[in-house]
Every structure is written in structure tokens, then in C-alpha cells.
């Protein structure tokens, strides 16, 4: 496993409440692994804790990366080990050019421009149009997200966490993003995808369901998605959108059984 979380608990900054509790899952190297769950289930907070942000300290459990215990490492050390995060709403720092921004995390500083051009092409931004632009309000939300993705690609991390990469984007753009994820994967990067959308998650090989701050299941993604639908009581939605006849992952009997089990569990 590239990343392993063992019974990880993350409280709020003031330690008065628990955000996620006893989280246990692993991410295989080279895979796309989605963390799914409804709004408020703790997905982004968990990503911040994996990144080591100071406001999301792990109070219990351990995080391992490449077999090394990184629980007590700071954000910079984790980034240097090869972990990074593409933010849901990345900041606009007027005064920083796209080229400078992309260069910040590059390991090889000898051919910065070539690397930046390559990263921009991967996220389908024209280098000529963007490389000298500033990271300011003139960029749309979609453009800013692509530049964030390009910056993470330019780092060549081992693990890139994408926090709600679809938020605020229209469907055409989302389709484009899914293609970009596959390009990133071919660069030997492992992707941990944070999303609450099933269509985004379907690019994933594996998934973990977070529900009310707890990890309910880690498995191949369709299985996790099925459990998510069962927990949310979305049976028709599940049958209609995820497991249609021509693209069925499971038989209808199996879907019925999972929903029944979930129903019984609740009662």
C-alpha cells in the first residue's frame, strides 16, 4: 500500500468535537481511489489530515506512507515525501505568475519552463495563453482548478489528493477532467479522489465510503458506491444511474439484498 490509515481520528481544532473517527483504509500504488460520502461526512477534513495541515492534527491512530509513519510530520515534510493536495478552492495570489506558481513544487529546477508547458498541456490549457498570466481574479474557477492540477502534476508527487475537483464545474468540463485524471495516472501518480458525485467516482478503481465521520467500507468502487446508495436510501437512483442492464456491475438480486441488509441494520 502506498498510503495506509490505521484507526485515524481527527478532532476539530479546539478538540471539542470529532470530525472523523477510527478511519481505516489503504490506497494501492498506481490506483485511483475515491473517498465518497455525503456533505459533512469529513472527506475534505480527512484529506487535510493526510496532508498534515496544522488545524487537522491526528489525535489517535497512525498514517503510513510508503511504509513510513508520517503521523507526526508537518505538511512540508509530507510534501517532500511525495504527497500533495489539489485544493477545492485554491487561492488567487495576485502577483504570482502561473509559471512561478507551477515552479514552486518542481524537484528539478533546471528546465522550469519546459516542465510548466508540459503540465499546462496535460490539463488542456494553452501554455502560450497562460504561462505568463497571474493567479488573480481574472481566472475563472475552472481555469484556476486546472492551474492547481498543473501545479500538482509539475511536482511529480507519488500521491495526489484531488479535493472535490468537480465542484463548480459544468458537465462538459467535468468530462474533460475525467480524461485528465487518466493522463495523471499514466505519469505514475496515485490519485486519492475526494468527491460526493458518483459520476466522478466511477473513474476510480477503489473507494472508501465515509459516513458520519466513519469509514464504512473500502472495496472496488462499484461496491462502495452501491453501499453509499443503500445508506442514503437511493435504490431507484442506484438502479437507474449506476447499474443499468448494459453496464451492470451487479445483479438486481444483489442490489436488493444490500439494500435490505442496510434497512435491517437501521431498524
Amino acid at each position: 500500500m502506498l498510503l495506509e490509515l490505521k484507526d485515524v481520528t481527527v478532532p476539530t481544532f479546539d478538540k471539542k468535537h470529532i470530525i472523523v473517527e477510527d478511519i481505516y483504509f489503504g490506497v494501492k500504488e498506481g490506483s485511483i481511489h475515491a473517498i465518497i460520502g455525503p456533505n459533512g461526512s469529513g472527506k475534505s477534513s480527512l484529506a487535510y489530515a493526510i496532508m498534515g495541515l496544522p488545524s487537522y492534527e491526528v489525535s489517535k491512530g497512525k498514517i503510513f506512507f510508503n511504509g513510513k509513519d508520517i503521523t507526526d510530520l508537518g505538511v512540508t515534510e509530507r510534501a517532500k515525501l511525495g504527497i500533495t493536495l489539489a485544493w477545492q478552492e485554491p487561492a488567487r495570489i495576485d502577483g504570482l505568475s502561473v509559471l512561478k506558481y507551477l515552479s514552486l513544487g518542481m524537484k528539478d529546477k533546471s528546465n522550469i519552463k519546459e516542465q510548466a508547458v508540459e503540465a499546462l498541456k496535460i490539463v488542456n490549457l494553452s501554455p502560450d495563453r497562460y504561462i505568463d498570466r497571474r493567479i488573480d481574479e481574472s481566472l475563472s474557477g475552472g481555469e484556476r482548478k486546472r492551474i492547481e492540477l498543473a501545479a500538482t502534476i509539475a511536482m511529480r508527487p507519488k500521491l495526489v489528493m484531488l479535493d472535490e475537483p468537480d465542484s463548480g464545474l459544468d458537465m462538459i468540463v467535468i468530462e474533460d477532467f475525467l480524461n485528465i485524471f487518466n493522463k495523471i495516472r499514466k505519469l505514475d501518480m496515485t490519485i486519492l479522489l475526494i468527491t460526493h458525485r458518483e459520476d466522478i467516482g466511477m473513474v476510480a478503481d477503489y473507494g472508501t465510503l465515509l459516513w458520519q465521520g466513519k469509514s464504512m467500507i473500502t472495496d472496488k468502487f462499484p461496491e462502495v458506491m452501491l453501499r453509499f446508495c443503500a445508506k442514503a436510501g437511493l435504490k431507484e437512483f442506484c438502479k437507474r444511474t449506476l447499474f443499468q442492464d448494459d453496464n451492470a456491475c451487479f445483479g438486481e438480486d444483489y442490489i436488493d439484498r444490500i439494500f435490505r441488509e442496510e434497512e435491517e441494520g437501521r431498524s
Partner: protein, 320 residues
């Protein structure tokens, strides 16, 4: 006029602001230029539409710079006030006049690379006529020893329908003691934009800047932006003053200051006053550190907190 070549150290420090020095070495470049080496004039070149006169006095010079009526000056006029001695007094008394219907950019470079007990003073008068577009870009470098005392005072009259833009940059090296006073009187329909950037890097750096705009003419408009950072004991105090004294005038003052390390101080005092009921004057000030999220984002790219902060300061001081 001195025949000595212009000191390399001064030229290098100007290049560090990404300015092409070939444009203002005497005999090179197209623009008009006035170069001062301590208290000696070492270069003075006029071009069509620009009158430049200078006279050496004890401890400095008196200079007249006149842009003739109707002239559109394509290449910037360069003023270079350099001192490569450690100490001494350099005093500049410029009178800058842009006659009606003119367009010009003046680039002033004040460079004191070895300053250690050096005093530079300026007492400038600017008269910008009607329908002018006048840009004054000023870059400073005061060496690395916090050893300069720099005290420029300027009074500016901006005529009707004119646009005046002031860009002051003191972000490289160690500023030393800096006291800047700028009073701008804006007439009818004029537009004033002033951007001031300064970075105090150590205990010997104290920067005090007072930018004042008096909106005296109907519909005059102004924006003063002051950005500063103080680090490791540095001190920055910025006064941004705007008075709305005429109908439908509109002024805004913005101060942004970042303070880093123990003993550093940043103070911002926006002072606004409106005496005409149809005028609008506003201010905005922020002091402190960068948002944690910005630091997190840069640290997640492998930068240390200090490196991330330096990048953010650099970015802040590059903003328009």
C-alpha cells in the same frame, strides 16, 4: 559635468529591478536622461520635447525637467540619483513641469549600494498641466547595511482631465531610515493612482510614508494603494490620507501590511475626510500575517513556512 564613468555598482542595483540600464547610460538609449553621481552631474541628455537643466550646488543639485506643451514622449525619461560612497549628503531640488496635453513616463532610480551613514534628501515640485498623462516610477535601493537616511518630500499639482500615476518601489536591500512625504492636489476630472511598496527587513529599517491626496476639483478620483512588509525587527508606518473637497469626487485608500518575526511593527493609518456632501471617500486596511490557507497551499508544494512567506511577500509586492 563629470567625465567619470557611472559606477557599476549603482547600475547593477538598478538592473536588479529588471530595468534595462542600457536605456539610460549616457550616449545610449533613446530617452532623455539626467544622471547624478553623488553630487556631480555625470550625464544629461535632452530630446525633442523635453528640456532638462541641472546645476550643481553644495551637497546636491537643482534640476528643471520640462515636458513641452503637446509633446508625447515615447521613451521614458530617466533620472538616476546614485551614490556609491558610504556616507555624505545628497540633496536634490527638482522642479518637474508637464505642460498641457503631454504624455510622459519618468523613471527615477535612487541607488545607494554602500550606504552607511548616507543622507539623501529631495524636495520636489511637480506641476502637471491639463489633459496630461504623467507616470512617475521610482525605484530605490539603499544597500544591505540599513545605513541610509532617505527623506523625499514632493508637492504635486495635477491639472484638469489629467491622469497621474505614481509607482514607488523599495523592496530590495535594506531600506534604512526612510521618511517620505507626498502631497497631491487633484483638479477637476483628474485621476490619481498611487502605488507604494516597501519592505523593512531588519531592526535598522524604519519606513514612514505619508501619501496625501486632496481632491480639489469636481469629479476628481484617486486610489492610493500602500503595501508593506516588516520582518525581523523592521518597522513600517503608512499614512494614507485622502480629502474629498469637491463635488462628486471619489477617493479610496488601501493599506495592506504583513508583519513577520518578533519585534517587527507595521502600522497603517488611513485618514479620510469629506467636506462635500456629494463626495465619496473610503479606506481599507489590513495588518498581520498571510491567511493560513495560503501558507498551507504553498507548503503542500514542499515549501517551508519561511519560503512560503517569502513567496507571498514577493507576490504581494508585485501586485498592481
Amino acid at each position: 559635468m563629470s567625465d567619470e564613468p557611472y559606477p557599476e555598482e549603482i547600475l547593477e542595483s538598478i538592473e536588479n529591478y529588471n530595468i534595462d540600464i542600457n536605456n539610460f547610460i549616457p550616449g545610449h538609449g533613446k530617452g532623455a536622461k539626467l544622471l547624478l553621481n553623488f553630487n556631480k552631474i555625470s550625464g544629461l541628455e535632452e530630446i525633442e520635447g523635453v528640456i532638462l537643466k541641472g546645476r550643481e550646488i553644495e551637497n546636491g543639485i537643482v534640476a528643471d525637467i520640462i515636458i513641452k506643451e503637446g509633446s508625447v514622449i515615447e521613451d521614458p525619461v530617466h533620472l538616476c540619483f546614485g551614490v556609491n560612497k558610504q556616507s555624505g549628503i545628497q540633496q536634490i531640488f527638482p522642479r518637474i513641469i508637464a505642460e498641457d496635453n503631454t504624455e510622459v513616463t519618468i523613471r527615477a532610480h535612487c541607488s545607494f549600494p554602500n550606504a552607511d551613514g548616507l543622507i539623501h534628501k529631495m524636495f520636489g515640485h511637480f506641476y502637471i498641466g491639463n489633459n496630461c498623462k504623467f507616470t512617475y516610477n521610482e525605484t530605490h535601493y539603499h544597500g544591505e547595511k540599513s545605513g541610509a537616511l532617505v527623506a523625499p518630500v514632493s508637492y504635486m499639482y495635477i491639472g484638469e482631465n489629467s491622469i497621474y500615476e505614481n509607482n514607488f518601489n523599495l523592496t530590495q536591500g535594506t531600506p534604512g531610515k526612510v521618511k517620505i512625504l507626498l502631497d497631491i492636489y487633484a483638479m477637476k476630472n483628474s485621476v490619481i493612482r498611487s502605488n507604494v511598496k516597501a519592505f523593512g527587513k531588519g531592526i535598522g529599517d524604519s519606513i514612514r510614508i505619508r501619501d496625501s491626496v486632496f481632491l480639489e476639483g469636481e469629479n476628481a478620483r484617486s486610489v492610493i494603494k500602500m503595501k508593506a512588509a516588516a520582518k525581523d525587527g523592521g518597522e513600517v508606518l503608512m499614512y494614507g490620507i485622502t480629502e474629498g473637497n469637491s463635488p462628486r469626487c471619489n477617493g479610496h485608500v488601501e493599506c495592506q501590511e504583513i508583519v513577520l518575526g518578533k519585534g517587527s511593527t507595521c502600522r497603517a493609518r488611513p485618514f479620510i475626510r469629506a467636506i462635500d456632501p456629494t463626495s465619496t471617500v473610503s479606506h481599507e486596511a489590513s495588518l498581520g500575517r498571510f491567511p493560513q490557507k495560503w501558507l498551507d497551499e504553498l507548503q503542500a508544494k514542499g515549501l517551508s513556512e519561511e519560503e512560503a512567506t517569502d513567496i507571498l511577500i514577493e507576490a504581494m509586492l508585485k501586485e498592481d
